[in-house]
Amino acid sequence: MTAILGTTYSILSTIIMNRIHQKLREDKKLLSIYFTAGYPSLNDTVKIIQDLENNGVDMIEIGLPFSDPLADGPTIQASSTQALKNGMTTSLLFQQLKDIRKSVSIPLILMGYFNPVLQYGVEEFCKKCQEIGIDGLILPDLPLDVYQEDYEAIFKKYGLVNVFLITPQTSDARIREIDEASDGFIYMVSSASVTGSQDGFGNSQETYFGRIAEMNLKNPQVVGFGISNSETFQQATKQAKGAIIGSAFIKFLTQNGVPKIVDFVKGIRK
């Protein structure tokens, strides 16, 4: 199977539609949830994914914990530190996820920093993702030019959608370039901040959301950073296709534990 994919991936990838593409076609606003693998407990990963899907979440970002998460605020930093203390590693995460497609059908995206992927071996990593049924990757510190030069062919060979970020400071020209390079959705960072830094959206976000909507990008946008409740979820998805909740979900897990996930999702979708 891999051998065939290796040689004719470009044809096949247009035939086999990635779960992300299918999901983006659905006529609804998408709720996506980020959590850190290995947190609160090492073996919560599969249970969290199943519970999120069973409660109507559309897409999941599984965070690969990193020792030095530059773009993350205190909440995700703390969950990453704890996950690493619990013993999470890249291999272990793959091990935990190996049968995930027997029970879960929504898109799964791995999100993390580039160094652990580099150490695992980029091609090996992508191959493993494909075997498991991972649909995409978000690696915030893998820049566009390096991706295009060194890794795009590998990602595509294994059917992985790579998701790029834009921010309110990203120029229109750069957004166009990113739109051109993307094949899935664009991760719209809501404001100039690390994760978990703010509550509520003001005028500047409204302007930014409007500006992006008017650009008529070929890829739909999913908003992330600063979404914490049903109000911010609705604001974020007025124009965008969906929104991602991270820090608020992790805080919830810390306070309420995995069995209460149903309440969290209900709170957002109310």
Binding site: D68, G73, F114, N115, L118, P140, P143, L165, T170, A192
Partner: protein, 393 residues
């Protein structure tokens, strides 16, 4: 072989800018502008003037007679310890504050380990009337108390980095997060030859005044511009980059980089990146760094806060990989003894970082006619507490 940065921001396979998109506009703007700005006559004039009148440059190149006699070779010390604020760090902060002004920035952030870079940044911010926030690991705040007080006197706000190992690496993470949160008005003055391109090259160029001066000073003293060896300690690598810069392509000059072995390279408590590190990404840069097989960055250890960094600047990674530089690792004990020896023999109390460089004289043999220039990157005032505890003074 080219040892300078290439047009894409790499030294061989090391370097680049592995940054999240949030940092892209600032880093890209800096990349586009830094060489142009540095080449402006008004920039050069202001930079040179401040280095002369404010920093006190040129720093002397001093022939260390008693040290030379003891080790039977010609030892010269480049006296960066005599700079205003007591270390080489100020060469870079003067350059970067002028850069920040020309980029229209009004708020400055920095990370610091030993506090030397923090003090040098707070100093230039006071000089230019700019807001200054310095991130410093909680552990370093405790072990470098005098520098914390200095920064406060200079009007800077010192914010403790509470995450991870609570030292330099974590202070750098916090500074980067601050920059993500404040992309419009803020310039990040990185304190070493690390970080995403163009930082390693920009910092190296500002520090290259060290080797520029060594050349003409040595010509005056020895009748030749090139020594047989230049030696410097390496934390992130800024004083070393400045010391090596004008000799990189002079084949007859041996380059020696000295890393902190901590309690010993194999002890598990070390910061000897060239030995213990593997290619990876730290703080936006592809370089050698200490990490687990899984790619988690590990906690380094050195008695000197300024060398307590798990990576090394990409230029040095390249010098190591190509064999252009010889790398030597010096333990805490060796460095402390060397610090005491320099004090006793030459009347100079060095920073413990710099002591690592002199310590190689015990084991690395030089010929009697060799001219060996050591960069004395900083003075030991900030380390008195550590010296007192170590030697029970």
């Amino acid at each position: 072989m080219n040892y300078n940065v290439d047009e894409k921001g790499y030294y061989g396979e090391f370097g680049g800018a592995f940054i999240p998109e949030m940092l892209y506009p600032n880093v890209e703007n800096l990349r586009r502008q830094y060489l142009k700005i540095m080449a402006e006559p008004s920039f050069k004039k202001e930079f040179d003037q401040l280095l002369k009148d404010y920093v006190g440059r040129p720093s002397p190149l001093y022939f260390a007679k008693r040290l030379s006699e003891k080790y039977n070779t010609k030892v010269y010390l480049k006296r960066e310890d005599l700079n205003h604020t007591g270390a080489h760090k100020v060469n870079n902060t003067i350059g970067q504050i002028l850069m920040a002004k020309r980029l229209g920035k009004t708020r400055i952030i920095a990370e610091t380990g030993a506090g030397q870079h923090g003090v040098a940044t707070a100093t230039v911010c006071a000089l230019m009337g700019m807001e200054c926030i310095v991130y410093m690991g909680e552990i370093d705040i405790a072990r470098q108390a005098p520098n914390v007080a200095r920064m406060k006197m200079l009007g800077a706000e010192v914010r403790p980095a509470l995450s991870g190992s609570k030292t330099l690496k974590d202070a750098t993470n916090e500074a980067i997060r601050d920059w993500i949160n404040n992309p419009v008005d803020t310039h990040y003055i990185i304190g070493s030859a690390i970080g995403p391109h163009p930082y390693p090259d920009m910092v190296t160029r500002f520090q290259s005044i060290i080797s520029e001066e060594i050349k003409w000073q040595l010509k005056e003293k020895e009748g030749r511009e090139n020594p047989d060896y230049v030696v410097a300690c390496i934390g992130g690598g800024s004083n070393a980059a400045g010391t090596f810069y004008h000799f990189l392509h002079e084949k007859e000059v041996g380059i020696i980089a000295v890393e902190a072995a901590g309690l010993g390279v194999d002890s598990g408590e070390s910061a000897a990146t060239s030995v213990l590190g593997k290619m990876g990404i730290i703080h936006g840069c592809k370089t050698l760094l200490m990490q687990t097989p899984d790619g988690q960055i590990t906690e380094p250890y050195s008695i000197s806060a300024g060398l307590d960094y798990p990576g090394v600047g990409p230029m040095h990674a390249h010098l190591y990989k190509t064999g252009r530089a010889e790398f030597i690792a010096i333990t805490d004990d060796e460095a402390m003894q060397a610090g005491m020896e320099l004090s006793k023999l030459e009347g100079i109390i060095p920073a413990i970082e710099s002591s690592h460089a002199f310590a190689i004289l015990e084991t690395r043999k030089f010929r009697p006619e060799d001219v060996v220039v050591f960069n004395l990157s900083g003075r030991g005032d900030k380390d008195l507490d550590t010296y007192i505890k170590y030697f029970k003074l």
